[in-house]
Symmetry: C2
DNA sequence: GCTCCGAGTGTAATCGATTACAAAATGATG
DNA sequence: CATCATTTTGTAATCGATTACACTCGGAGC
């Protein structure tokens, strides 16, 4: 493995000059530069980033933590994140924690040990306590979640409004017994959407019933239990809002195999807008989130924070809302 | 940011001793060790990995390159890969190239610049030429593909046998006009499956027709065109094998929206065994690949190669076959 | 009491780059 | 041609860890 020293010797210059050539320092004389470049090519030299990173005290690497990978929702966010990292010549490590807390620690350790310069937490990959512990020392962006009072940029959609719009649409169709299958009840996106849901109900004069809301993970059995739990209380359902396309697809599956006692033509609106909503039968009406952009923007904002380290003050913090829209399909 | 030097000063020992404590060197006297550990905790010291990496000339990082992320197929492989990396205390960078060659270069550069110690190429994320260029200098594992003559471990299923079995099943059901929608025709998994397909046809005395085979990417329009291309030649189809669950789901979608002129009850067998095959309507019969294990094993093998650098000789190279199985569903 | 040995610790080189500062080369000017 | 300003290049410190080697110190053996 050739080092800068060998290149310097071969080119008959000092390591400093080679370094300057590598970094495009305009002070080097063109002739020297060419000579060095020739040697670099001849020797097939590549700078050792480990050395560079140490010297510069910067890894040019960030981390994005996802709850899981098995939902296309996250893949799309990750895709945007990778693009943003690439565009800014940063490396990005995308990690999933699969609800194992100790795995989260490995990613946070990358921050603590200088391997990573900043981190994006997507969805409920982190809780508020941990966040408060980290927010003063490290550069953090939250993607699709919003914790007021946290010293971190948050990138998300207007979940309250989206929840409102979804509910409104079902009401418009004549639904008045609308169930809500949520995700993790502690997540801010969930509570915001429910606020919108309540508001729409109120506006329509439909009484709000908390027992029409049930949380479920993105697993078939969870979703089935959640829906059947509501039905089991003797509550009629003529419309459903789900937290994700995946949940909605599971409901369709349950209806079809008759493990969920709902009519095939139930009005249903899901969140996310992944391709899943298009390949089910019937296809699913969804609130489309700008997933790619959410990922892209999160990373972009994080990198801005890293670069503007000088502009210390937390003026830039806050909430960034990206637009969503509804796509009406068969459900 | 506290460094080892400050810890040493605070604990009244040399940096060497602190380093020994950090690395659990048994020579340090227990009393000293405790003293140092106390200071480390007090100062909330974390070793700087950038320095460690440089000194040890090892990043403990590997790369896994995926063609894309939007197929749950890849997510599942990535999940296994992450687990293997975690189990071996390696970092893993999972990157997708989205068929942009220049993005692939960034990942390969991580190898060349010492940021990564090895790489796993999944599916057709790399071509044979590039592979031949890299194989002598770097540690490489291929996942789900197999190039004979390449100095890299390959982890995959027995694609020929799987293709044979899928075809056989359709023949058993009485199909005799079996179309094959493949992926990238240059990939070894595709050609191996087709071999199996041919073999099963031959065995059943059904003539093989190359024009019943068409390649398609994992996009609705591609798949639709491929299928309609075969139909358009006037060739009847009473059975279909697809390269992926995703393709199969698109075919169902096309049938339903009548943009693909096939009966709803067409016999279809796809490859992969992702959750997609369960949420479609009808559900899809698939050859289930051990995706998680494919990812896990690939990374595990790579790390073994890295650790056994001493055992230079390429004795360990070769093909690792993991078992697959068929799950019969509604198609 | 002296030598020797091993346990425990410290000193300093090293990994491969960047960069402040010093020094040399170049060129302009009178 | 001497002087000085400006380019261009080189020297050496530095980032923060690891580790070969040297050293100290106490006790065992004679």
């Amino acid at each position: 493995m050739s080092s800068i020293k060998e290149v310097a010797k071969q080119a008959n210059v000092s390591v400093a000059t080679v370094s300057r050539v590598l970094n495009n320092d305009p002070v080097v004389k063109p002739a020297t530069k060419n000579k060095v470049l020739r040697v670099i090519k001849e020797m097939n030299y590549k700078p050792n980033m480990l050395a560079k990173n140490l010297r510069k005290q910067a890894s040019r690497t960030i981390v994005m933590v996802l709850p899981s990978m098995s939902n296309p929702y996250f893949s799309e966010i990750a895709r945007g994140a990778q693009a943003a990292a690439y565009d800014n010549a940063y490396n990005i490590i995308i990690g999933t924690i699969e609800s194992k807390r100790w795995i989260l620690d490995t990613y946070i350790n990358m921050l603590k040990t200088n391997l990573a310069e900043g981190i994006v937490f997507v969805s409920s990959s982190v809780n508020k306590e941990l966040l408060e512990e980290l927010m003063d020392e490290y550069k953090i962006v939250l993607c699709t979640e919003y914790y007021p009072g946290i010293n971190a940029t948050c990138v998300a959609i207007d979940n309250k409004r989206a929840g409102y719009e979804a509910t409104k649409e079902l009401i418009r169709r004549g639904c008045s017994h609308i169930a809500y299958i949520t995700g993790n009840r502690e997540s801010s996106s969930v509570t915001a959407r429910i606020e919108g849901y309540k508001e729409a109900l109120k506006e329509a004069g439909i009484p709000y019933r908390p027992d029409r809301i049930a949380g479920a993970k993105n697993r078939f059995d969870h979703v089935k239990e959640a829906v059947n739990g509501i039905i089991g209380q003797g509550l009629p359902i003529d419309g459903i809002i789900t937290h994700s396309d995946l949940q909605a697809s599971y409901i369709l599956k349950g209806i079809k195999e008759k493990s969920i006692a709902l009519p095939e033509r139930v009005g249903m609106i899901s969140f996310d807008g992944t391709f899943l909503a298009e390949i089910t039968n019937p296809t699913i009406t969804t609130i489309v989130q700008p997933l790619y952009d959410l990922g892209y923007t999160s990373v972009h904002k994080l990198i801005l924070k890293l670069v503007n380290e000088s502009a210390e003050a937390g003026e830039e913090e806050g909430l960034v809302l990206l637009p969503h829209h509804m796509v009406i399909r068969e459900t």
